[in-house]
Symmetry: C2
Subunit: 443 residues, 2 copies
């Protein structure tokens, strides 16, 4: 049972203890509030983890960071307006992101946006050429091949599996990472070739993998060509003064005798300019050779000018941290607004539980089983956009139909509060509907 599960079954829902007449009256008040919101018809968007305009504005210096021909030259004398240089990216860019990725610069690759593309390509290379030099391609081994998918998770990870016919096995999250008993059992199957991990401030649950989780992932029995797709998208995206610690998966895997198990990904999409940033990859020396050999067939090399821009603006790891502190000042009030509204409107009702993220981009809301689609439909009809219910699960199917991912980053804080209010109303309406149905009574 995950930390979120305790309050989202009908039995533990405080509203469930109201007498039917009182429940009806409560429902009527929420329904009236909902109709008022619908009548106002103010659109709000909580769907995607999109930075606000003030956030991308923080990186405006990038626009003029390489403005003259003299500024186009890398430290090794490469003209960044022209071909060549290492396919791994500029050494100064790799050095910049090495601490964030937890690998020496020689084991870091800096590419064009985005990390999603790098993850996609790693899957493709493994499918068609094997996950190690000389290996049988995944696609030519037993079929179907499978990935472990901690869920709820990032929908775009799951879409890669779906596109290429990789079977997804959902595993529950515990608040400290996936349920490792389940994962260890699954990974022992040689048809299980990979696992999606957002190990820090996870999308959408906000949790960070504990030391025990990382250690068990590193040492568990698995196929030699099993890979952890370690999408550390929110490595430096803290919302508190005490960042969650996350163990260095490359070090822990190496110490466990599985040095090639983890493929680490990162991105500046939510640091500088989304889509006009850099995709990052780090792994063992052997995996880097494997990846670069294949990447070099795909492209002569990345856009080095954009790498130079990032080096000049972010400078070093401390520069990244300073930059992220500015993001935090913009983001934290929006998360606080959502949490305050949920506490006020939903606290004590037992109608929902939600995460209190210490970093990342999302609040994960769990409503009564079987209610998420209804809540999202009500919200949509009132102009509040969230991702479709279920989207955070493999193949878009939430087996309990209860999870809703909320992304409060893009709208202004005042709008975020109004949107959370509206969403809370939808949750209460849907919960009452559900409870009345369970009691076998109509409206």
């Amino acid at each position: 049972m995950t930390q979120l599960e305790h309050a989202t079954s009908a039995e533990s829902c405080e509203l469930a203890h109201l007498p039917t007449e009182a429940l009806r009256k409560f429902r009527d008040r929420q329904q009236a509030a909902y109709e008022a919101i619908k009548a106002r018809a103010v659109p709000f968007n909580l769907a995607r983890g999109k930075p606000a305009t003030e956030q991308v504005t923080l990186a405006n210096q990038l626009l003029i960071a390489v403005a003259t021909p003299e500024e186009c030259w890398a430290e090794d004398g490469t003209d960044c307006r022209n071909y060549y240089g290492s396919p791994q990216g500029l050494i100064e860019a790799r050095r910049l992101f090495a601490p964030m990725l937890g690998a020496p610069a020689e084991q870091v690759l800096v590419a064009n946006n985005s990390s999603l593309a790098l993850m996609h390509d790693a899957v493709v290379y493994a499918l068609l050429t094997g996950a190690r030099d000389g290996d049988v391609p995944w696609r030519d081994q037993r079929r179907p091949i499978r990935f472990v998918c901690p869920s709820p998770g990032y929908d775009r990870h799951f879409q890669i599996c779906e596109q290429y016919g990789i079977e997804m096995i959902p595993v529950a999250l515990t608040g400290a990472g996936p349920n490792m008993d389940e994962v260890e059992e699954l990974a022992a199957d040689p048809s299980v070739k990979g696992m999606w991990c957002v190990p820090k401030y996870s999308n959408p649950t906000g949790e960070t993998y504990s030391s025990e989780t990382v250690a068990r992932l590193a040492r568990m029995s698995a196929a030699d060509d099993f890979r952890l797709f370690w999408d550390n998208a929110y490595a430096v995206h803290h919302l508190t003064d005490t960042p969650d610690p996350l163990d260095n998966v490359l070090d822990v895997c190496a110490a466990a005798g599985n040095p090639d198990r983890a493929l680490v990904f990162g991105s500046t999409s939510k640091i500088t300019f989304a889509q006009a940033g850099l995709g990052l990859f780090a792994s063992s020396r052997a995996n880097m050779r494997w990846f670069v050999a294949r990447l070099s067939t795909r492209t002569i090399g990345p856009d080095k000018l954009n790498q130079l821009r990032h080096v000049r603006v972010l400078r070093n790891d401390a520069g990244i941290a300073e930059h992220m502190a500015q993001h935090r000042r913009l983001l934290a009030p929006k998360f606080a607004a959502v949490l305050e509204v949920f506490e006020t409107r939903l606290g004590g009702t037992g109608a929902a539980t939600w995460t209190r993220p210490r970093g990342g981009y999302f609040v994960s809301l769990d409503v009564l089983d079987g209610c998420a689609q209804r809540v999202v439909a009500l919200a949509k009809a009132a102009g509040i956009e969230t991702v479709p219910a279920g989207r955070t699960f493999p193949c878009g199917r939430d087996p309990r139909d209860r999870n809703i991912r909320i992304a409060p980053s893009f709208p202004p804080a005042t709008e975020v509060a109004a949107a959370a209010e509206a969403l809370a109303t939808c949750v209460l309406v849907a919960t009452c509907e559900r409870l009345l149905v369970i009691r076998g009574v109509n409206g």
Copy 2:
């Protein structure tokens, strides 16, 4: 027999008609010249189609084309510093390149660098998901699958096939495109799924496909999921006042009842900044839907800021033409220098034939059968870098060992002439060696 073949067999080599003693004397003079070159040890690089620094300098305006926050907005109101917008790229960028690609803007996709990556990805999508929606993936059909490879051709095309186990069938070029009798026979085999084409100022032979070639490619019998990989890399890269005409392959295929046969690729790598430019793709509506659906799993979208920069600097098709005229002024003297040296040193010897390109980036030099590797080795020992002999053929094997690709774009014109001089000397040394071996006489 190709247009190049007539002079490169020992029988037709004028040096072959010299008496042995005269041939020895001639060889000794060339050998002495070669030793002098080697002693000078000045390095020259003719290996890669890399623009000169003065060429990338032509696009310096790109560095400041989007310098303020106000300039970051696309015409549809998209903030190009942030996520989203069409995965096909900005409409203004698609409109800019539509004439160059020969398709309406709705059927054009503008991506990050480079076109090679787009071609790679199209091959990968077809291998893993089929070349049409609902098709059996290439990888799950009969094996091996095959590509027709006009040769000599672009080595990086062939490397994609090699990486993914696609069997390559070389086909000779005629001066007006590939030998179509051969191509038609091959394409009738359903295991033949693709064909690499550089239809204009071809890499490396410089030839442009004739109307008849394009028409026959469009109407020939082939599998429904057979695709022409139409890499129109040099669409606007003319070296004369009378650009080679090339028929619009999308139109001709549509008229022949095969609207989905051609995938058209283009690039700004040799227009603006190499590696920091844009990759371009155009095809039928169905193919565009097919490609975008898969691309959208790989990435949320391209770097829109770099697209805006290109739109603002190149403006429109006429702007591209003006820009390319400036490139021509820098490139044409370098090609002229190579051709003048070859004419002076090799003309009348029969030791080699070479192309006189009307556009593109290469001079293709054919030496006596069995001599290319020796020429390249001699050149390398004297400090002149060319691509390894054979590299222009599938799997790096030139069956006649005679083709050498020369890229004169990067060094200054004076150096290009000196390098061509040195290379001509190497050709003459290797030719004499070969002829003396054929006569059964030693040095």
